[in-house]
């Protein structure tokens, strides 16, 4: 055991196993429960609604206003708060959600806004800011794991200036998270792999001595991580529909193409296996035309997947330590255009949060009657990020530095939303 650093989580697991193997003493368990309750979240799942979802047609309906469009607003578990009629499952568990209705951003262009919502900074040519998952991976540095800390289902914003070791493992095909994990038949097993790795390390060392700025160490580390990942089970192709058919259906496996159901169920598997940050890209929200049919379809997937993910994590005792966040790069115009669509609108939009020990069952901020401006408690993107970081146990006020020594705080002066934090 010498030199082995146990994480808090492992210690807790160890003590839990200890209490169970001996006669369970109630006061121990109570203490453990208390400790668990106070513990910060240590994993995060972000469902990114790529394209920019209409806030009015999802979490911030405007019944009676001209801008509302054809969707009805329905009651939720929070008194006096309504969601779109196409989010009934989320409405029914609104006490487990927190919805921010007063996000405001300066970026109305997809690329720039996607970058802002991921990094918390407006894009700049002088510094490639890291995305949320990479920033967190760096904070979690030293967490030993066979699985990557940061997994993205679909492309995301990478590590930027933090460097490749904090980059995501990107999954393009959710049905087959990582291709070619198994060694071919007759390969010769791990012994042959070890021999290759040893020779590679030596070969890389001699190159590093000649070319110190070539990032050789990053290459070596990435190869070693690839090897560890190859041995883990969780990235092997798995037919979720067949292994957990009932649950899969609840996640919305039969709604549309079932992509989001699969992605969210995979995300749960990943978190259980020790992945700390999972991002899921869920696109299609750029509804310049035919907004209402499209949003209705997308909402069907979103409603089932998120509501079931929250319930599923809850059933497994993982909800308190798993933070869930769902947002896109901006909202959409209150005005309905000639193509029955809505256009980009960063002036006011919504985000949904759940789990992670947040104080849920509340709405933060308010947009005006038509959904065209923030009316109360403007939340900037860095504030949203500061809230996520704080819930994950990080101090956003501390000065942090990029690898090249430049000041790079976790957020651009973001203030955590205190009402949400326990």
């Amino acid at each position: 055991m010498f030199g082995l650093h146990l994480s808090r989580r492992q210690v807790l697991r160890g003590s839990l196993a200890g209490t169970l193997s001996f006669a369970a003493t109630p006061w121990w368990q109570a203490l453990l429960a208390e400790e668990t309750k106070r513990r910060k979240a240590d994993a995060c799942i972000v469902v990114f609604l790529e394209g920019g979802p209409s806030h009015i047609d999802t979490f911030d309906p405007k019944p009676g206003a001209d801008t509302n469009g054809p969707f009805e607003a329905i009651d939720t578990k929070i008194a006096g708060v309504k969601f779109s009629q196409h989010l009934p499952k989320l409405a029914a568990i609104a006490d487990k959600l927190a919805v921010i209705r007063s996000l405001h951003s300066p970026e109305g262009d997809h690329d720039r806004a996607v970058s802002l919502l991921h990094t918390g900074y407006q894009p700049s040519p002088a510094l490639t800011y890291p995305g949320l998952g990479s920033t967190l991976s760096r904070q979690w540095k030293g967490v030993e794991s066979d699985v990557p800390l940061f997994v993205s289902i679909g492309n995301t914003v990478g590590p930027g200036i933090l460097g490749p070791q904090f980059g995501p493992f990107v999954i393009q095909d959710v049905n087959n998270p990582a291709a070619a994990l198994d060694l071919p038949e007759g390969f010769g097993g791990d012994a042959r792999v070890e021999r290759r790795l040893k020779a590679l390390e030596k070969f890389n060392q001699s190159f590093a001595a000649r070319a110190p700025l070539a990032g050789t160490e990053d290459f070596t580390k990435l190869t070693q991580r690839a090897d560890r990942m190859r041995r883990s089970q969780v990235f092997r192709a798995i037919d979720l529909a067949a292994t957990e058919p009932e649950l899969f259906e609840k996640y919305g496996g039969n709604v549309n193409d079932g992509y989001l159901a699969r992605a969210c169920l995979q995300a749960r598997h990943f978190v259980e296996a020790g992945v700390r940050f999972v991002e899921i890209q869920f696109g299609g929200w750029d509804t310049h035309a035919d907004n209402f049919n499209q949003v209705q379809n997308l909402s069907g997937s979103l409603d089932a997947a998120l509501a079931t993910l929250i319930a599923d994590l809850g059933d497994r005792g993982l909800l308190d330590k798993t933070l869930i966040a769902c947002f896109g790069e901006f909202g959409r115009t209150p005005k309905i255009n000639g193509d029955n669509g809505r256009d980009h609108f960063p002036d006011v939009f919504s985000a949904m949060l759940a789990g992670g020990g947040l104080k849920t069952g509340q709405i933060i901020g308010k947009s005006n009657d038509t959904g065209s401006a923030v009316q109360d408690r403007e939340v900037k993107v860095p504030d949203l990020h500061a809230t996520l970081f704080t819930a994950l146990g990080l101090d956003v006020t501390k000065d942090q530095f990029a690898p090249d020594g430049r000041l790079l705080r976790l957020t651009n002066n973001g203030q955590p939303i205190r009402e949400l934090l326990a």
Binding site: D182, R196, F203, G215, F219
Partner: protein, 540 residues
Amino acid sequence: MSSAIILALGLLVMPELEQSGPSSDAANAARKLDTRVTDGWESEKDKVQPASACDDATFLRRAWLDLAGRVPPFAEADKLAKSGKPLDRAAVIEELLDSPEFAAYWSRHWAEYLLGQRPFDQPEFSGRKLQQFLRESLKANRHYDQIATDLISAEGAMDESGAVNFLLRYNADAKQLAGAVSQKFLGLTLQCAECHDHPHAAWKQSEFWGLSAFFARLRRMNPANPQPNEQFAAVLERPRGEFLVIDKKGKPDEQGNFPTRTVMPQFPGSVRREIAPARRDALSAWLTSPENPYFAKHFVNQVWSRLIGAPLVLSFDPVLPSAKKGDLQPATLSAAGENRNAAILENLRADFVASSFDIRRLVTVITLCETYQRASSSHREGDSPATDSELRHEQDLFARGRTRPLSADQVHLSIGQAFGFFQDDGDHRLAQLTDEEFTYDVPVNSFGSEPQSLGRSLALFNGEHIRGAVDVAAQSLLRIHGDAAGPAHLQRLFLCLLSRMPTDAELEAILDLAGDDIPQRGLEDVTWVILNSAEFQTNH
């Protein structure tokens, strides 16, 4: 492998190249450019110790990777290793620029830049046709202003005009094209001004609209009854039609809708309205004029960045004075650094304009430079070895070469060059029919788009492409050099992938690994080690 042999034969019958005329003129221009680089070092506190020139083998590999997107063929590396004579670097550059590989590789990444996405072929446009247009243009050494003019003034059907696919990529839509043209040809982010005059943005909405109006008469045409799998679209320019915007200052009608207002074409940064009948001709004339402050500058900055590994100027957008005090501002170059780089950029721009936008000459001048040819390794004449931060500082001054990770295309093409292995042979043959190197996106599918990522490492570790490549490599080494793995096998492997001979120490260490009871397995292991090494995965 066959194309490598053909190329090598081609080189043998080439006539001796004259060392006068255009190439010596380019050499003079390269010397001038080097002087601009070294001039900047005078303002440095400490004496700058530039890296010496990289060795010939490194240069050969660097030039091939940069210009042809792949490592040099074995025959070239072998010839150099055996010759004992210094390499004629200017001749290497000239031959590469004349090669079909240069046109294929540069047109591919240029198309990727203009389209902003991969894979190239989408239902709405044919990126392949665009790439073919760029490839043929590069082959014929058409100049940059002509190519840009073609792209902006294109018209016709997607399968007949390659250039029109640039317009189709942006839906032949006035506003999207204004954003794309300013970004791709001028390096400016005008599209931020689409929604409103933004306090933090340098451009006015009226300027964005004025640029949009040049494209107001374009129409994207689709077939009335599209057939399944049919890919067709065309761009036409109508004789009339104006760019209309919603006038929020006007008086709304009874339904609350604001009136519209016509915006006439207007060049960004100018107050003059353009009323020429051929709007896009007027735009491309303005764009490609030698007086345009950004057109040439943006292009040479990009080419420099591609070849040297870092741009001279990070952004051409005017500096924003509006940033609030206390906002975290990213550090930029020092004022001295900016002046230094501006002088290099101006020198390059002037030379490019004077050559009437000759792309090949631009590439020749940069690659002939000492700056391009400097070593990236840490070796320093004399005393103590440099620290990492000293080396980094030298790179910022362009006094030392930069190491750059290979793109997916470079990995794919290099493995193809080395072993004749392309993973999807069916695709490779299909592609050859259209004179392309791949039709489907084999490189990205096999190796992932991000260099230095877990996905790339996993692919190189155990991906099918790599399994196939090490198998083929081991087989062909055994066929050529006999059944027992020995130095000859390894020397060939090193020359194929790293363009250099192994050192004695490497030979000993690697022979140990290669000495498996089964020679095929031993050589597979060695090939695997090299393909997974930092040395193979970088251009250094």
